[in-house]
């Protein structure tokens, strides 16, 4: 097959691009998923005071500013060797969980839900949130908006601004909370728990009880046996804000467990000639291409990966839901990509429960939320679980705290290999010799990457979801035989 190159014009238009190459008999030979990319952020950071980065990094994109803000603040804590006060740590974690609850809710109801509620091959004009509320009822829409609004309220209360927060600073937080605010946080958390339970119930009714959808969920076209990565606490339970990173192999056995500064010993980045976006992989296993299995260093991140990499959830209702998911599949890890949706809802419930737990902690109103950094700054790594996967910020500074080098591995990048593999496998599953590729078939291929909740906003400027997308189907000589475009 000829070398595949990126069309720079298409890249700049901000479209996602799927290139599918067919064999002579019309079956799928290969498929590539490409997105436009922004480059040079690391260089942009160099020469700036490191304490500016928690304010700059949330401006990379508007999708997960809180994740960048938090990873950046944690990296700054590490650069200055400062232990933040316990109340600050609890408040940061509470804020971060409220953000995750809002984000996961949006993904399920706005992006993923329409595929299941309306059906994967439904008319695109109806396969959206409006179609969902027409079918399920207005109350759902109101509840989704409320969840998002209350997540914003928490972010504004603790982060100072609802969209691009500034509240986390090296050494802790810029302000403590009052008793009245604590009570409000508790109330919001309780609402999130209730909606998390409702959403899992809806998922059970709409997906688990639907034989056709379960066939899709369980189908080989949406299955990959890979390694999984996730942040866990001291008991190996899922934690979004802090802990160590755990990797399990395709059989679920612990492969490695490491502290954030050791990430460079474990993760390396592979470059492919057809993509500017790098492919992170497990160094000790090695890069064997876009293939799964124990001999391939490809790992996956984000909700399902986090649950697979952990031994359970730290809150009771989420743990119950966790056990139900694994007993339904009968295996751990679960390799079915569509289970990312289920795992995301379990995490949404966990986030709500964690907000409640933290809001009930009597120490959380302690006014001591900042420890002034006094050590000479040098180097630090901050890791959080962004909704879309492990997010790593790594800074090196001079003794004056001026950034000399910055390295970011962002959530979705961890899943770049998995997404490419899933797109190819889904294409192989639905594109058959002699059959025209329809809009419905395109959506099934798209579902393969939507499960990852991909957001290339940090590394690109084109955010999927209903991302503008071009699917090009080529014969073995590289000639275009069909093209489907969908603008966002």
């Amino acid at each position: 097959m000829d070398k595949v190159t990126i069309d720079p014009i298409t890249r700049l238009e901000g479209h996602g691009k799927i290139e599918i190459f067919l064999n002579d008999d019309g079956s799928v030979a290969n498929a590539y998923f490409q997105v436009p990319e922004l480059r040079g952020f690391e260089r942009f950071c160099e020469g700036r005071p490191v304490e500016e980065l928690p304010r700059i990094t949330p401006r990379i994109c508007g999708v997960c500013p809180d994740a960048h803000h938090m990873a950046s603040a944690k990296a700054c804590d590490a650069v200055y060797h400062v232990d933040i006060p316990p109340a600050a740590k609890k408040l940061r974690e509470l804020w971060y969980n409220a953000f995750t609850a809002g984000d996961h809710c949006t993904h399920f109801y706005i992006l993923a839900g329409p595929d299941f509620v309306m059906g994967p091959t439904a008319d695109p004009a109806e396969r959206n949130i409006l179609g969902v509320i027409n079918k399920v009822g207005l109350e759902i829409g109101k509840r989704v908006i409320r969840q998002r609004k209350e997540a914003h309220e928490v972010i504004e209360m603790l982060g100072g601004k609802p969209t691009h927060p500034v509240g986390a600073i090296p050494g802790g937080l810029s302000k403590a909370i009052t008793e009245e605010e604590r009570q409000r946080l508790l109330q919001i958390g309780e609402g999130m728990v209730e909606f998390g339970q409702f959403s899992l119930g809806l998922f059970a009714d709409v997906v688990l009880k639907n034989e056709q959808y379960m066939d899709l969920v369980l189908s080989d076209a949406f299955t990959h046996r890979t390694y999984y990565i996730g942040l866990v606490d001291d008991n190996n339970l899922v934690n979004f804000y802090d802990g160590h990173v755990r990797v399990v192999d395709p059989d679920g056995k612990e492969f490695v467990s490491f502290a954030p500064p050791e990430y460079t010993d474990v993760i390396a980045e592979h470059v492919e000639p057809w993509s500017y976006l790098k492919f992170p992989f497990l160094k000790k296993v090695g890069w064997k291409g876009l293939v799964d299995g124990p001999d391939s260093g490809v790992y996956r991140a984000a909700p399902l990966a986090r649950l697979n990499a952990a031994e359970g959830m730290a809150t009771p209702l989420a743990q119950e839901a966790y056990e139900k998911m694994y007993s339904t599949f009968g295996t751990k890890p679960v390799h079915q990509t569509m289970a990312f949706h289920w795992a995301r809802l379990i995490e949404m419930l966990y986030s709500g429960e964690r907000v409640v737990e933290l809001a009930q902690d009597p120490d959380i109103t302690n006014p001591k939320v900042h420890q002034a950094p006094t050590a000479t700054p040098d180097e630090g790594v901050g890791i959080v679980e962004a909704p879309r996967g492990l997010l790593i910020h790594h800074y090196q500074t001079d003794p004056n705290g001026i950034v000399q080098r910055a390295n970011l591995i962002v959530g979705t990048t961890n899943n770049k290999a998995g997404i490419c593999m899933s797109v190819k496998k889904a294409a192989e599953g639905v594109i058959k010799p002699g059959q025209e590729v329809s809009e419905g078939i395109l959506n099934i291929v798209e579902m393969a990457f939507r499960a990852y909740d991909p957001c290339f906003g940090c590394a690109t400027h084109a955010l999927p979801g209903h991302m503008p997308l071009i699917v090009t189907i080529r014969n073995p000589r590289g000639e275009v035989i069909q093209e489907i475009r969908r603008d966002g």
Binding site: R43, G62, I133, G141, T163
Partner: protein
């Protein structure tokens, strides 16, 4: 929400660290200099979807300004700094509004209305053609930066009531 009643929210969309992507923010800042703040509050955001919907709730009217990488006419050449007033159907040409991780602005507005949210009676959306919204940097393309005052005045005159623009504007 009462403090929002009767007022027009000016929303500049984009990222301040992605060169020309900042045009919406810069023009919104210029409009802040032109307009009385008590009636025309200005917000900056690099976001869309539900986050933007929540930002719009409660205001009487809204003006949204975003960058766009392609001219409205796909056969036309890009014209740096050209101002386009967009209909909801044309939003796919813009950057922030189109690069939504969430639902489109049209869908989210419709969702909000059906949910009974108090949304602006009128939303004017402007797209400004830019060259480089993909590189990190705080400086816009020089020719574009020069256009900012004129674009702000044009928006003020095209969609805001006569008499609302300061006579002693700096723009």
């Amino acid at each position: 929400m009462d403090e929002r009643a009767g007022k027009t929210l000016i929303v500049g969309l984009g990222s301040p660290i992605l060169r020309d992507d900042a045009i919406g923010l810069r023009v919104a800042q210029a409009l802040a200099d032109l307009l009385p703040a008590d009636r025309f509050p200005v917000e900056e955001a690099g976001t869309s979807g539900l986050r933007l919907l929540l930002l719009l709730e409660g205001w009487e009217r809204a003006v949204i300004i975003d960058a766009m990488r392609q001219p409205l006419d796909p056969h036309a050449d890009l014209c740096l700094g050209r101002l386009n007033r967009l209909s909801p159907a044309q939003l796919h040409s813009t950057l922030t509004l189109n690069t939504s991780h969430e639902a489109s602005l049209a869908d989210t507005l419709e969702l909000g209305r059906r949910m009974g949210m108090a949304l602006p009676q009128e939303i004017a959306i402007f797209g400004i053609e830019v060259e480089d919204p993909f590189s990190f940097g705080e400086e816009m393309t020089p020719g574009l930066a020069q256009c900012v005052p004129a674009i702000a005045r044009e928006i003020a005159h095209r969609c805001l009531p006569v008499g609302t623009v300061h006579c002693n504007s700096r723009a």
